[in-house]
């Protein structure tokens, strides 16, 4: 079943193997590669590029002492990466629980959703104690980090703001001043909530 499904989906591929692509040896490809190889490389600091694990730990360590000002990707050092737009940046770190800005709930409305500075759809990839890591599948607003770490208050474990963050599940999250908003402004990805996000932030 699985192999057959894979084959069926593969047959939908508009760029299947019989569709020609440009060979790496054509003059224009060679020119492209030569142009790229003539681009100066900014050498990394002596420790070299920061491995992903270190970046992760950096983000987590920062979370212990920092309430993150959001509005863009977190600008922690990324080990001297030459291209911040595409290099694996540090995770965005958010907090959930006591400090959230929606502690006094207002009735959910797209009008209130739209001004929220951080909005993304992500999938939980790790739950470890008070820390939940999500892969950002889609940024609506306010960031471009590939990972987001949410720190929940101790004792709540992975239960944040009345909806549990479960491994492998997808969520729509908003945040203000580094704190996850709830009261319906964050939650499991449902068609309804996604529609609201798309209406508020664009697709």
């Amino acid at each position: 079943m699985t192999d057959e499904l894979r084959e069926r989906v593969a047959r939908l591929d508009p760029m299947h193997s019989e569709v020609p692509t440009e060979s790496v040896t054509t003059p224009s490809s060679r020119q492209l590669l030569e142009d790229i190889m003539s681009t100066p490389v900014i050498e990394q600091p002596e420790t070299g590029p920061t491995p992903k694990k270190s970046q992760w730990m950096l983000g987590v360590a920062a979370a212990a002492t920092l309430v993150v000002a959001v509005g863009g990707a977190l600008a922690l050092t990324n080990g001297g990466s030459a291209d911040p737009t595409v290099a694996a940046g540090p995770p965005l770190v958010l907090n959930a629980g006591t400090n959230d800005s929606m502690a006094m709930c207002i009735v959910f409305d797209v009008e209130f959703l739209a001004p929220m500075p951080v909005a993304f759809e992500g999938t939980v990839t790790e739950v470890e104690g008070d820390r939940v890591t999500l892969t950002a599948d889609h940024w609506f607003k306010g960031g471009d980090a590939s990972q987001v770490v949410i720190n929940a208050p101790q004792g709540l474990e992975a239960l944040i703001a009345s909806f549990p963050l479960e491994l492998g599940e997808q969520y729509l999250i908003t945040a203000t001043d580094g704190n996850v908003n709830y009261c319906g402004f964050s939650g499991p990805s449902t068609p309804e909530l996604r529609s609201a996000f798309e209406e508020a932030f664009g697709s």
């Binding site: 894979r6 047959r11 692509t21 440009e22 790496v24 694996a88």
Partner: protein, 183 residues
Amino acid sequence: MSSDLSRRQRFEAIAAEVYDPLQRYLRRRASPDDAGDLLGDVLLTIWRRVDDVPSESPLPWCYSVARRTLSNHRRGIRRRLRLVERLESEPPSAMLLDPAEGLEDDDLAAALSALPAADQEIIRLWAWEQLEPREIAETLGSTANAVSLRLSRAKKKLAETMSRQSPPSPGHKGDRHAEEQRR
């Protein structure tokens, strides 16, 4: 740290391996013109970070760079479209690729299109890029276990969507699958 010569050699070797699959990856998700520009951006990042590229299996790492490059590109498109208030009338280029058009397996194509974007992408990485869960994990910055779980759920959703869209009728292959799912 690479000397100039070894950096060039390493980059050339990587480029030879990933040039074709990267073109396909980008053309599946962007217009042909944009895909050409994006390929240059991805290769430039690979050149700059050639020491980071895994020796044994560079492709998932390169797909990961392509994914981020594409994501930035889409954000730029959305910003521009919003500026000229054309968001509704002109979708981003990445949406131009409609797998349902002109294909025989319409039920499956429609069901795939109906899945959430993240589920569609994981199915495509599995079936179009022919990646295994650990490679998808590297591409998406996730873990193999999480990807396996997501892939399994996405496949289940795909089957359920197909079964809802196509009532069973004798002799139709896709419908037999739907029927099996219901048992």
